[in-house]
């Protein structure tokens, strides 16, 4: 019988120095905060973080930055975390800015088996640099390549033991797309229920995308 539920210790044991992590959430709303705290306790270094933002210094991804565990960030916005700005300015963190919609689609491309996406976003800006421009029906698009991770860490509101996940309200954001684009996907569930208790109509991410489930601290 499938049971993907594991301990927090087992979950962080999969995360080593230099790991490339996707982390769901938007300013810490819908971010797996318990796993992040466990990564801080483990103290792994040189992480690459792919996320919308780096939250605030005192919460979620922001804490990983303050704890100097991150060497590279791929995100759309870091303005809410002065410590990220400081470490990027000093050269301690390598920063790739990706427009929010482009970030979601590049992740989706990786998870959905696409070689890339064509977007008009960023035409005429620095986003064009070192990228291929493709013209279709007289409109110019930037070819943006897929973004994949070693491990995707997402947050689910209601998750059954097969991994079928429901994301409440605005906690969804990047979680749904990130579940598809890593070698290993771990969902931190606010609430875990038995198989059969989550109506298949309300499943947003099918359990086949989820490798492991941990119960959230909150």
């Amino acid at each position: 019988m499938i049971n993907k539920l594991i301990s927090m210790e087992k979950a962080v044991s999969m995360i080593d120095d230099g790991a490339v992590l996707m982390i769901g959430g938007f300013m810490a709303c819908g971010t797996p905060l318990g796993i992040i705290d466990a990564i801080i306790d483990k103290g792994v270094k040189d992480l690459t973080i792919i996320s919308n933002d780096t939250a605030m210094p005192e919460i979620g991804i922001g804490k990983l930055i303050v704890n100097k565990q991150v060497k590279r960030v791929i995100a759309s916005h870091i303005g809410t975390n002065k410590e990220t700005v400081r470490q990027v300015t000093s050269g301690d963190i390598e920063m790739d800015f990706v427009p929010q919609g482009t970030l979601a689609e590049r992740i989706r491309a990786a998870g959905y088996g696409l070689g890339g996406i064509l977007t008009p976003t960023g035409i005429g800006t620095l986003m064009e640099e070192e990228k291929e421009i493709i013209e279709i029906d007289k409109v110019r698009y930037i070819l943006e390549k897929p973004i994949k991770a070693d491990i995707s860490l997402i947050s689910g509101s209601l998750v059954d033991k097969n991994g079928n996940s429901f994301f409440n309200a605005t906690t969804n954001n990047f979680n749904q797309v990130m579940a598809t684009a890593a070698d290993i996907t771990i969902v931190e569930a606010k609430k875990v229920v038995e198989v059969g208790k989550l109506d298949p109509n309300y499943v947003m991410t099918p359990g086949i995308f989820i490798d492991y489930i941990v119960e959230g601290a909150s």
């Binding site: 938007f26 759309s76 929010q100 919609g101 689609e105 008009p120």
Partner: protein
């Protein structure tokens, strides 16, 4: 007028642009002041790029739901008839031509409709967030901002900061006036309540074409 009164004036003017059923995304800063000025009887659907349409007012103290936040990460509410979705759908709405308006602030705007609002030259941030997608995808782009910063104009012949988008701005609303970006250039259509035409020209580097029907700002 002090700066706060100027911001309220700008928001009040922007609110006049919308009609029933328009889908509108508001950026941070002056744009967030717009909803309270939407005329009664006009149903505007506000989109929040972190993942829903039907953005409602800030909840009463003690009634916040941590799962319902806006694009600034602050607790908000969702109206009856609203809908939540993931980021991919959210930016499908934005990029796919399903968003009628975006209202954003800017560091600089120019007479060709170019805009810079994501990075100061020589600085590492703050990043574009959803702004580049919004500017590129929205059917109409309204820039709502103060006309000058520290006495320097923000409306130029050509932007000097890193661009967020090229030729995407349609309308600029400041405390000094309302300007429309057209193929022929920047047309001043309305003038602020407490300024003269000369003052507007002095505070603007861009070439201004003065509309034949120049009016006082409608508020």
């Amino acid at each position: 007028m002090d700066r706060n009164q100027m911001k309220e004036l700008i928001a009040k003017r922007v609110a006049k642009e919308f009609k029933d059923g328009d889908v509108v995304n508001l950026g941070i800063g002056v744009p967030t002041l717009v909803p309270k000025y939407i005329p009664e009887g006009v149903d505007v659907i506000f989109q929040s790029e972190n993942g829903f349409v039907g953005l409602g007012p800030v909840p009463e103290k003690g009634k916040e739901d941590k799962d319902v936040t806006n694009a600034g990460g602050q607790p908000v509410t969702i109206k009856h008839g609203g809908a939540f979705f993931d980021t991919s759908t959210s930016f499908g709405i934005i990029r796919g031509g399903h968003l009628d308006y975006t209202v954003l602030g800017a560091l600089q705007v120019d007479q060709k409709g170019d805009i810079a609002n994501w990075m100061m030259p020589g600085e590492k941030g703050p990043g574009m967030g959803g702004a580049m997608d919004l500017l590129t995808g929205a059917r109409k782009v309204i820039i709502a901002m103060l006309h000058t910063v520290k006495g320097k104009t923000k409306i130029l012949k050509e932007c000097t900061y890193p661009l967020s988008a090229k030729n995407q701005v349609n309308l600029i609303v400041t405390e000094m006036g309302v300007m429309e970006v057209t193929e022929n250039g920047l047309i001043l259509k309305e003038i602020g309540p407490e300024v003269t035409l000369e003052e507007v020209k002095e505070s603007t580097e861009a070439d201004l074409i003065i509309s034949k029907d120049l009016k006082r700002m409608i508020t």
